[in-house]
Amino acid sequence: MEWYLMGMVAIIAGAMVWPLLAKRHAVWAGWLSAIAPIGIFCWLLTQTKNVANEVLPTWTAEWVPQMGISLDFRLDGPGLLLSMLITGIGALILIYGGGYLKGSPQAAPFFAFVQLFMLAMLGVASADHLLVLFIFWELTSLASYLLIGLSHSELAARKAALRALLVTGTGGLALLAGILILGSVGGTYSLAELQTKGDLIRSSPMYLGIFVLVILGAFTKSAQIPFHFWLPDAMAAPTPVSAYLHSATMVKAGVFLLAKFYPILGGVPIWHDTLTVIGGVTMLLGGILALAQTDLKKLLAYSTMSALGTLVMLLGIGTDLAVKAAMVFLVVHALYKAPLFMIAGVVDKATGTRNVTLLQGLGKRMPLLGIAAALAAFSMSGLPPFVGFIGKELLYEAEIHAGHYSLLITCLGFAANAINVTVALKVGISPFRNRGELPDINPKARKPSLLIGPLILALAGALIGLFPWLLGEGLINAAVRDIVSQPVDSDLKLWHGFSLLLVISAVTVVVGVVLYIFRDRVRAMVGLVLQKIPKKSSDIFDWGLARLIEGAGMSTRFFQHGNLRLYLVVVLICLSSLITASLVSTGFAGMPQSGPVRFVPVGISLLMVMAGIAAIRSRSTVMAVLAMGGIGYGVALLFALFGAPDLALTQVLVETLTLVLFALVMRQLPPIQAYSSTRRRATDLGIALTAGVALTIALLAVRGATIPDAERISAEMATRSLPEANGKNVVNVILVDFRALDTMGEICVLAIAAIGVAGLLLGSGRRNVQAELAIATPLFRTAVSWMTPLLIFMSIVLLFRGHNEPGGGFIGGLVAGAGLVLRRLASADRPPDAGRQPFLYMAAGIITALVSTLPAVFLQRTFMEGVWIGSLWLPIVGKTKFGTPFLFDIGVYLVVAGVCLLILTRLIRGETLKEATHH
C-alpha cells in the first residue's frame, strides 16, 4: 500500500511540477506525467493475486484523532478495479492530453487539475475511512469544476462548470450528512467495519435518512435522473477531460460508492426499488436523448448517462449476477468509451467539427485511428469477440434473472443496448466511412501521442474479449465478493453456446443497425418528442437558481435597506422584546427598594424633564444643544447630591467641553428641519415609549433586589483604600490603583478620539492663513492671561490632591486643557494651532503611565502594583504619599490635557481657516 500512496504523492507533486513544463513542452509533460500512474498501475497488477486471495493491502496513520479521523486506506476488490481504471486510463489520457493541448494556454492548468483529480479518485478508490473518502470525493468535484472551466473565456463553460459544481457539491454535502449519521449509528467510520454491521444499520431508524443522503451523493455524481443535466453541459471541457472524468472515472465514482455501500445499505426493498427504477429510467432516457444528438461528444455523453443508469440499475437488482454484470460493464464501458472520446477529440482537431452528419472519409486519411475507432465501436455494440459482448451477455443474463420486473427490465435494457449499437456506429464507424470526397486533415492531429491512447484501450477491449480470464478470476471475482460479502467463483466466458441470450444479442444488434440506417428520421422524431416536454430538469435547476438569487436579493434589500433610523428601530425592538421575555420568564424580584425621598433631587428631576421636553419640542439647534447641556448639569448636580463629587466634577467639565464642541460645529451643521411626517413622528414616539417603558420596568425590577453592600467587592475596596493604597478618596484609588487598567484603556480612548478628530479635520483649510479671531478681544485676552495660569495652577492642585480628595488626573487634566485652550482662543495674532504640542503631551502621558508600571516589574512584583516612595507635605495640598499610582495619575493628567488641547484647537482652527478661505 505504501507504493500506492507514494504514487499518489508523486502524482500530486507532478501536479505542481508538470504544468510548469507543459507551458512549453506539453507533449513531454504528457509522457513524463504518465510515469507515476503507470507505476501505480504496475503495482496494482502485482496486487491482483493478493486481493483475490483476500489479502487486502492496507495502510493507516493517525490524522485528526479529535474527529476520529485516521488515514485508513484499504484496497478491496472494487477499489482495485477502479484504481486500475484510474491509473491505466489516466496515464493514457495524460499522454493524449499532452498532444491534444500542445501550445494551448490550457495545457498547464490541465496537467495541474487532471493530476489533482487523479489523486482524488485514487483516494476515493482506496480510502477506508468514510470521511477521508468524502474529502477525496469533494476534491473530484472541485477538480471537475476547474477542468470544465478550462475554456473559461466562454460563458457556457463557466456556466457548465458552476452547474456541475453545484449539483455534485450539493450531493456531496448530502453524502457528508449521510456519512456522519452513519458514523454515529454504526459507531465507526471505517467502511470495512461498517460493511460487517450491515444488519445493525439496516434495522436502525436512521436507515432511511442515511440511505436518501448517500444515494443523493451517488446519483448527483453519476448523473442519474433528475440530476443528469450537468453531464452533457460538462462537455464544454476539452476532450481529454471529458474522456477521463466524464466517461471513464469520475462519474463512476457514484456507482463505486453504491457498490461500497451495498453491504451496508443494500438488500432492502427500498434500495432495490429506488436504484432499479432510477437507474432504469436514466438508462433509457440517456439512450433516447443520445438519439437526438449530432455532436460526437454529446452523443457519447448521453450514452454515458445511459451506461451509468445501467450500472445503477444493476446494483439495484443486487443479485450476485447483477453485481458481477455491473463490475464487468464498469470495465467494459471504460474500455470503449474512453477511446471513443479520445477519437472524437482527434476527429475534432483534424477536421474542426464534431458534427457526425458532416464527418466522413476519415478512415482513409487516418487509418490507424479508424481501426481503433472500429474496435471500440464493435465492443460498444457488443459484438463478439470483444469484451463488450461479454458485458452485454452478462447484462441480459442479470436482467432476465432480476426477479419481479425482470421482463420490463430486460425490455429497457434491450432498448438501451440497441441504442448503444446505433451510437457506436454513429461515432466509431460513420465518420470513417468513405462516401466520396476525402476531407482535409489538420496535421496537428497526426501525433503518436493522440493515437496511442485509443489504440491501446481499443486493443485491450479486443484482448480481454478473447482472454476473459485476464479480468475474471482476479479482479471481477474479488470485486463482486467484496460487494456481496461472500465468495463468488465464476469465470467470464466469451462463448456461452447458443442460447436465448445470444438471440437477444443478435436482435439487439439488428435493431441498432436499423436505427442507425434511419438515423435522421429517428433523430427528427425524438427531437419532436423532446420539444413536447415543457420543462427539463436543467431548466428547473436554472429557474430555481435564478429564483434563489432573486430571493436572496430581495431579502438583502429588505434587511439591508440603508436606513439608519430603521436599523435603530430594530435595535430598540430587540431590546424591548428581550426585556419583556426576561421579565415574563423570571417575574419581578420585588418592589423596587427606594431610600427616603429627598426634596432637592425630585425638584431637579422635574426640571430635567422640563429640559428634556424642551429639547424634543424645539426645532432650534441651539435650544436642543443647550437643553442637552442643562440635562448634563442636572446630572452633575444629582451626582453631587448623592455623594459623588468626583463624578460631579467630571460631569461638569465634560458637559462644558461637549457644549463647547457643539458650539464649535453647530454653525457648520444645518438648522434642524422637520423631515419626518407627523405620522412617522407618532410611530417613532410609540417605539421610543415602548423601549423606554420596557427599560424603566427592567431597571425597577433590578432595583427590586440588589445585593447588600457588604457583599459587594467595593466593600473591600473601601476598607483597603487607605491602609493599603494610601488614598483617602476611594474613587480615585479605584481609578489609579484597584482598577488602573480601566484607566489605562480610558486614556487610550481619549488619545484615539483626539487623533481621530485631528485626522478628520486635517487639511480642512489652507495652511498659514492668518485669521483674526472674532473672540480674541483685548478684554478677553487680558482676562485669559490671568486665567490660564490660574487654571493650570488649580489643575495641578487637583492632580495632587486627587488621591485624598475630589480631583485627580482626569479632572486636573480637563481643567488644564481648558486653560490651555482658552489661551489659544485668546491669541489674536495666529490661528490657534498647537502644532505638535498636544501630541507631545499625549505621548508623554502615555509613556508616564507605562513607566509607572515598570518599578513593580523590576521589583519582581505584580504588573502595575503600586510602589510607594514616601510622603511629602505640600502647601494647599497637604501631606501626600507618593508612589507609582501617583505617577500613573500624572500620565492621565498629561494625556487628558493634550487631548483637550488637540481636539479643541483643531476644531477652532479648522473652522477659522474655512472662514478665512471663504471670504
Binding site: 427606594s594 428631576s605 455623594g643 459623588a644 415609549l689 423606554g692 467595593s714 476611594v730 474613587v731 482626569f810
Partner: protein, 115 residues
C-alpha cells in the same frame, strides 16, 4: 428616591430614543447624549444611592464613614463619562464632516453604501 430617579432615567431614555429616531444629524447626536447621560445615572442609581456624603476617608479614620455610597459605581461612571466624551467628540466631528461631504443632514438619504 431610587424609584423616582429610575423614572427620570426612563424619561431620558425615551427622549433619547425618540431623538435618535429623527432624521437630523444634530438630533441623532443629542439623542445619543441623552442616552449616555441616562446610562451613567442608571449605574449610580440602581445599586443604591448614598445619603449624600462622599466615599472619602475622613481625617483620622481608616475607612469612609458608615453608610457611605458605593465608590465602585462612581469609578465606573467616571470612566464611562470620559470614554463617552471621547466617543461623542469624534461623532460630532464625523457628522460635521458627513454633512460637508454628503451635502445633507437627512439620515434617510444615506443609502449609498448599503446593498
Amino acid at each position: 428616591m431610587e424609584t423616582i430617579l429610575i423614572l427620570l432615567t426612563g424619561f431620558l431614555f425615551t427622549c433619547g430614543f425618540y431623538l435618535m429616531l429623527r432624521r437630523n444629524f444634530t438630533r441623532l447626536l443629542i439623542g445619543i447624549l441623552f442616552i449616555s447621560q441616562a446610562a451613567n445615572l442608571v449605574i449610580l442609581v440602581v445599586p443604591g444611592l448614598g445619603p449624600g456624603f462622599s466615599p472619602i476617608v475622613p481625617d483620622g479614620a481608616t475607612r469612609p464613614l458608615e453608610g457611605h455610597p458605593d465608590p465602585l459605581p462612581q469609578a465606573l461612571i467616571l470612566t464611562a463619562i470620559v470614554i463617552g466624551f471621547g466617543v461623542i467628540a469624534f461623532a460630532i466631528v464625523l457628522l460635521k464632516k458627513a454633512y460637508h461631504g454628503l451635502k445633507t443632514d437627512d439620515l434617510d438619504r444615506l443609502k449609498e453604501t448599503d446593498s
